[in-house]
């Protein structure tokens, strides 16, 4: 199945080419900087927090991947790690924390409860945080092994590197609608 992009001829002037070439260099550089300095906000609500702690400690050492410093205010963080079960009463708080984070921001659903509700298939639990906020990387497991989370961090770094970055971004990104 081919998309329109395959059939449409690409017309670019020299000015466009020059701009996009410069933008690519800038985007690559900024992305390289951003992917190796992920300041996280750990939104720890449940037992996955233990695994998060071991992940931060010397044995697994998230510092090797540039995600060393947890910030305990969302305004200084790039990566929102939702670690644990989110119940319906907590959902608006999580959304407010996400809205308080400065752009650019990424979200990791740490563990099966944050990803899909897990075995809390009941009246009180949000069935996956992607009903409230957009999620970049999901980590399964109850709780996930630290290696899984490191793998997820590397995947997220790959994703960040491939994203377009701008030096000055004056566009306000639209907020996702709050679902059920």
């Amino acid at each position: 199945m081919s998309s329109d992009l395959d059939t449409l001829p690409v017309i670019a002037t020299r000015r466009d080419e020059a701009q996009s070439w410069l933008q690519k260099i800038v985007s690559k550089g900024v992305g390289w900087g951003r992917k190796y300095s992920l300041f996280q906000y750990p939104f720890v609500t449940a037992c996955c927090g233990m695994e998060y702690m071991s992940l931060q400690m010397a044995r697994y050492d998230l510092d090797r991947f540039g995600a060393a410093a947890p910030r305990f205010t969302p305004r200084q963080a790039d990566l929102l790690m939702v670690v644990g079960t989110i119940n319906c009463k907590q959902a608006p708080v999580l959304r407010r924390v996400y809205e308080q984070m400065a752009e650019p921001k990424w979200v990791m659903a740490f563990g099966v409860c944050a990803s899909s509700g897990g075995f809390y298939d009941n009246y009180a639990t949000v069935q996956g945080i992607d009903r409230i906020i957009p999620v970049d990387v999901y980590v399964p497991g109850c709780p996930p092994r630290p290696e899984q989370v490191i793998d997820a961090i590397i995947l997220l770094q790959k994703k960040i590197q491939d994203q377009p970055h701008k030096l000055f971004d004056r566009e306000k990104p639209p907020l996702p609608p709050a679902g059920r």
């Binding site: 319906c88 009463k89 608006p92 708080v93 009941n122 009246y123 009180a124 949000v126 069935q127 059920r180």
Partner: protein, 171 residues
């Protein structure tokens, strides 16, 4: 000890307390009529020294009449004895509050109101305890749908940042 307590209760209030029996764990239990529960609890506390209600909960026997049963666990810190009182409450019937006897029963009665929808009369602050106010239905009722989902609600304004949402008159 608790056998003597139940016997004393039955002797004291014979028309309010009925069917005493020995429970599985060795605790002595009895059924209490719904209208007389405050009176029985006050007698239990003032005359027999049961100064604590460590747990108050409810059971939903769907299909039976009366449908619910509210269970009061009473504990005497002096005698280290426990007594269990069971009150049969029908659908839509009101339960008198025992907060005038044990202040600690306050949140348990709110829990019973929240999870089972049993209205408690004479309670100082009858609100939902665990679920949010917009929640519809009572989740621990047996006829609550197994995968019943409620719509997510927006964040509520917090008027008092130290004590959270709630009436200003509460203690």
């Amino acid at each position: 000890m608790s056998k003597a307590v139940i016997d004393a209760l039955v002797q004291r209030l014979p028309e309010a307390v009925y069917d005493p029996y020995v429970g599985v764990g060795g605790d002595d239990c009895a059924f209490v009529r719904r209208e007389r529960i405050v009176e029985v609890c006050r007698a239990l506390k003032q005359d027999l020294g049961f100064d604590m209600a460590p747990y108050v909960t409810a059971v939903d026997y769907l299909g039976q009449t009366p449908r619910f049963e509210v269970v009061y666990e009473c504990y005497s810190t002096k005698a280290n004895a426990r007594v269990r009182l069971r009150v049969k409450v029908g659908e839509g019937e009101e339960l008198p509050s025992v907060t005038s006897v044990w202040r600690g029963a306050n949140w348990f009665e709110r829990y019973v109101f929240d999870m089972y929808g049993i209205p408690v009369t004479g309670h100082p602050d009858l609100r939902r305890l665990l679920m949010y106010p917009e929640f519809e239905g009572n989740p621990l009722r047996k006829d609550y749908p197994l995968r019943g989902r409620q719509p997510l609600v927006p964040e509520r304004e917090i008027h008092d940042i130290f004590r959270g949402p709630g009436p200003a008159t509460r203690d």
